[in-house]
């Protein structure tokens, strides 16, 4: 199989594009990212590797906005992410200029996925090594959406999804515990999913909340710590209730 993973324009005999699969491996090694869609709120959460003491943590924002009403989080090669995000931002403005309308979430997702696909079908280039979670509100109908793209260029809409390290465990957790939420409940659900795979604490997670009225708001460390404390308290209460049933009779 070694002969089929150099130039990515070549299929292997059993139909694989190895470079794309290796890109997915790179994604699996990237930091965990989760996105949850509520009825009026969408939450993105990303694992933050501990920052070095001398590093300015504000310069390593992992959740970025593409336009006033669209935000993106990703897992994988951060340098590739920067390029893709810049192109997406330009496309958002170009769309506003040519049709005098902000982009829909589906449109910009399709653009980003199309860009990722282009690099899987050209000579001499490698695919982008990242999967993105794109969230936003439709500019006219106000409906919230969450989309995911991956290095092969496929995309689809999700109610909640996770990517990056340990994404399978997070996704399992979300599948078991997802229900329609709104406001703070959505934030809690996203953080609970992240806490399954990340050490607890505000300094290890970055969370951003998007609402129709206020756009994208990054939560401060203190706010995250408060929610984490709430979650731990709820967990402790649930544990205590499990151990105490004989008293109820």
């Amino acid at each position: 199989m070694a002969r089929y993973d150099r130039a990515i324009t070549v299929f292997s005999p059993d139909g694989h594009l190895f470079q794309v699969e290796y890109a997915l491996e790179a994604v699996r090694k990237g930091n965990a990212a989760v996105g949850v869609r509520g009825t009026d709120t969408i939450v993105l959460g990303v694992e933050k590797k501990s920052t070095a003491k001398l590093q300015d943590s504000r310069s390593v924002r992992k959740i970025v906005s593409l336009d006033d009403h669209i935000a993106l989080a990703c897992a994988g090669l951060k340098a590739d992410a920067r390029v893709l995000i810049n192109r997406a931002r330009i496309e958002c403005q170009s769309h506003r200029l040519t049709v005098e309308d902000p982009v829909t979430v589906e449109y910009i997702t399709r653009y980003i996925a199309g860009l990722q696909q282009k690099y899987t079908q050209s000579g001499g280039v490698r695919p982008f090594g990242l999967s993105t979670l794109i969230v936003g509100f439709d500019p006219y109908t106000g409906v919230p959406s969450l989309y995911q793209t991956d290095p092969s260029g496929t995309f689809s809409a999700w109610k909640a999804n996770a990517t990056g390290r340990n994404s399978n465990s997070m996704r399992e957790f979300l599948e078991k515990n997802y229900k329609e939420t709104s406001g703070q409940e959505t934030v809690k659900l996203a953080i609970r999913a992240l806490l399954e795979v990340v050490e607890s604490g505000g300094k290890n997670i970055e969370v951003a909340v998007m609402t129709k009225e206020h756009g994208l708001q990054q939560l401060e460390e203190a706010e995250i710590d408060a929610v984490v404390a709430e979650i731990e308290a709820e967990k402790a209460a649930a544990e205590a209730a499990k151990k105490a049933p004989p008293k109820e009779t």
């Binding site: 192109r87 330009i90 200029l97 040519t98 049709v99 005098e100 309308d101 829909t104 589906e106 449109y107 399709r110 282009k118 690099y119 079908q121 050209s122 000579g123 001499g124 280039v125 006219y140």
Partner: protein, 272 residues
Amino acid sequence: MKLDFSGLESTAPLFGASSNLFNGFSTAPSFEIPNTAAFDDFQKEAIQMVKPAKGTTTLAFIFKEGVMVAADSRASMGGYISSQSVKKIIEINPYMLGTMAGGAADCQFWHRNLGIKCRLHELANKRRISVAGASKLLANILYSYRGMGLSVGTMIAGWDETGPGLYYVDSEGGRLKGTRFSVGSGSPYAYGVLDNGYHFDMSVDEAAELARRSIYHATFRDGASGGVASVYYVGPNGWKKLSGDDVGELHYMYYPVAPTIVEQEMAEVSGV
């Protein structure tokens, strides 16, 4: 000369089309520097050469119920009337109309091209394009051909999610949003009648009558306008053709011939 056929190209990427990957912007249309010493003036001369004096009358206005669009149907080549039955209101799609003034071929071709782009937008984005967006697409194309001799003076009228929309777009690359426009050699006459009779709160019938009368008066005084006055209405459910009346007949409807007293007596005497 590199012309903008982007609306006609297929969207499948070609192998080796790697220039697109590395700068993200397609190259701008351009043409060779012409063989002339007067760089500042040659464009003006080119335009003067091909500038047919937009012999026509078209008008459109927004009112409470939607948009009213009307036009005459005469085509003239200098002093020769080449046709009295030209369709100057072009149906871009079931909810958008364009008017034709200037070069007939230019208007027809670019309006059809605009129709293609609007349909592609609908298919890709699962929702109709707005009137603002459609007029912007047309204006950008015409701007890229600026100075090359296109002659288009058009109004894009339609109904989209934000309500009725009306834009004026021309081959100089200009694009204006407005509520009342008239384009063509007969437009001063049409404006006179239109501006005088316009109220926002008209009914569809009143607005249609105003549009018809404005076209009629323009055809009465302007030699390059005539034929049939067509009136279209664009409402929330799309456009509908309301009437197409020969302006000669309209004339006798507005100014019927009243027999003079002498003629009446003669008619009585001869026992009619």
